[in-house]
Symmetry: C2
Subunit: 412 residues, 2 copies
């Protein structure tokens, strides 16, 4: 008995009609012989409405009550999906998180799944049930209260069920038809990838490609869950969408899998900082406390015991960063001559597991940017990613040039 | 530690602003020293929206999934009410039916409450919690699935909690300010009653005064729960609304407590039916099977072994009744010369426990109607009620005349 997990996001179940269409997709998989666990989000807009009511009622709300209110949207969709499947003569029933139970930590509004006992649902499959519809995004705490997993938590629910039930695959139905080599809106040669490695997907997700929630990819990687992203609005073939999988399952891959970007970045430089042990902690400690999400960090070579320290953060956190640095200076914790903020930069990154075994990717990237006359302001690298900060006005040009350079418009 | 139960209906929690106002009423009772159990309905309109979605998804729905979907509205209100109370520095938390747990039968969509263990909530009161907000209308079946109690079930939830926790009183907040001697819309002398006996309230409820659900009154009577009906939209004094209570608690009461009416009645007469043992069963069996709600039944004196049988039912069930009677005649189960339907009648009733000890109420009623020139078509009586069928055009006149005759405009 093979079990398939199918997850439908908010837009895929955003109306009664769309729930009907999603149910048809489930029915097609049942016809292929799978028993299916369907994970549903709330109808699009519903969670925002509930969150709005909570904030209006109590600005500094008790997260336990927040969870009790906000989780109700998924319960509605789960029941409606089960009803629709029954209407199509498919034996189905709904489960709310506490009924499975999806056991989570007590960290309300951002709980982590700890255990999903499979016995209740497996027993129903044994009795002839073909589809278990589970309300995503929610669980139950050790204290018996309802928890939610935080925004995008339904992806995580889906992957966790796929792991717990040893599913053949976890299909994530969304409003895009897969993962692209880059954003099709700024590069018309962007191509849908048939497969992408977990590590690449993680880098792309954290760089702002909003197809999958980062946590769900991490979880899929750890439990080796085959994850497929596909559109709920297009006719599907068996190899539709993008399969996120172990790199071993990707035969001949391009060295670079994709080009990602992040538009609203700012580059900040502390000029002439005393270069002494502990100076990084003295700078980035106060920034972290002030809630500044520091991304790239570069320290220039030291001259006469002083150095320049450059870091990047989202544009809208620049004021907060300046305040934190000036306060630290006033307290004598750090010393610098000047703080220069450049709010006109963007980050462009190339990502690919092939980089591990191919030298020269960085050089190729820098040449491509040079050929377009684009100046690089900051560089950081990881094992499978190279990121640069450049003037924002060149961002689209850089993405297009890199997409060409690494031959991403052609399947490998 | 005195426990008070307060129930807020859909219009009383129909918006965030109204939830705030309801929370203020709860806070006033907490200030008086009560620990409070608040029972909430869904925000007005929400349950209808959910029911609509269910029907659209699956016209012949699985009642278990219906319950899972429809119960979500109360969960939202419960969480919001708890949040609002916390915002007013009142220790409060929400409970969904399954968390209490409210144990019910498995009769989905019309389940009956079987048991409400009090330990969970009492333990929290002991820890300093002052308000338990409970989602009304719902419970959990022996199989662990969510059940609902049927429309108006939140009143029943409230009374059941008042019984289980031995509450000092059960306050039902609604959009009217109490129980009236008759409908103020058709009799401007109608007067709000300070007290009414359970039995009288039951008769009035079943006669169409829609202030309280009949089941909740039955339950209150059985467990001797003091039930108060009052408006959530007016300033309240300690003796606001109407107290529904044991007749012993009503000192000097009028003989008649109220005049009720039912507008859309039909009178049907089977002419010249064979008067033999079993004829009533032969007539009313098929009517019950056809779903006809027969109310009053009158059998004329027999002549030559034949009689006329008259009964009343709602106007919109006349066609169904005619079909059932003609089919029974065709099968030879009954025999009659003619079936005459009069769709132009209404029912007017006077109700009062004082009738038990006062003779002559019926005579006084008939005289009052005669003085107005109103012909009585059918009469039925019970221990505390007299009902008559009359021409519909005289209905308002009859109600006003009876209200005057029994001095209902004057407090006793």
């Amino acid at each position: 008995m093979s079990i398939l997990v199918m997850k439908f996001g908010g837009t895929s179940v955003g109306s009664i009609d769309r729930i009907h269409r999603a149910a048809k997709r489930v029915s097609a998989e049942v016809a292929k012989g799978h028993n299916v666990i369907v994970i549903v989000s709330a109808m699009s807009g519903k969670t925002n409405e509930l969150v709005g009511w909570v904030s209006e009622t109590s600005p500094l709300y008790d997260a336990r009550e927040y969870d009790a209110v906000v989780s109700s949207g998924e319960n509605v969709t789960a029941g409606l999906m089960a009803l629709r499947l029954q209407e199509m003569d498919i034996p189905a029933r709904s489960w709310q998180g506490w009924q499975v139970p999806v056991k989570t930590t007590s960290a309300h509004a951002s709980a982590r799944i700890e255990e999903i006992p499979s016995d209740n649902i497996l027993a129903k499959f044994d009795e002839g049930m073909r589809v278990a519809v589970v309300a995503g995004f929610q669980g139950i705490s050790p204290e018996g209260r309802i928890t939610t997993l935080g925004r995008g938590g339904s992806d995580t629910t889906a992957v966790a069920f796929a792991a717990a039930f040893d599913a053949v695959r976890c299909d994530i139905y969304t409003d895009v038809d897969g993962v692209y080599t880059t954003d099709p809106r700024i590069c018309d040669k962007a191509r849908k990838l048939d497969r992408i490695a977990f590590e690449e997907m993680l880098e792309l997700a954290s760089l702002g490609a909003k197809v999958l929630q980062t946590r769900s990819v991490e979880l899929a990687m750890r439990y080796k869950v085959k994850l497929r992203v596909l559109s709920s609005f297009e006719e599907q073939s068996d190899d539709a969408g993008t399969l996120v999988c172990d790199e071993e399952e990707i035969m001949e891959s391009n060295v670079v899998a994709g080009v990602a970007y992040s538009r609203d970045e700012a580059k900040m430089t502390l000029i002439s900082v005393a270069d002494r042990p502990g100076i990084a902690a003295a700078i980035f400690g106060p920034l972290a406390e002030a809630g500044v999400n520091v991304d790239m960090i570069v320290q220039n070579i030291s001259e006469d015991g002083r150095t320049d320290m450059t870091f990047s953060c989202p544009t809208d956190q620049v004021m907060r960063a300046e305040k934190a640095m000036n306060e630290a200076k006033a307290k004598g914790e750090i010393n610098f001559h000047d703080l220069v903020a450049d709010k006109g930069v963007a980050k462009v990154s190339v990502v690919g597991i092939g980089m591990r075994s191919h030298a020269g990717v960085a050089a190729q990237m820098f040449e491509a940017l040079r050929d377009e006359g684009i100046n690089i302001k900051v560089i950081t690298t990881s094992e499978i990613k190279i990121s640069v900060l450049i003037d924002r006005k060149y961002m689209e040009l850089a993405v297009q040039a890199l997409h060409d350079t690494f031959g991403l418009d052609k399947a490998s």
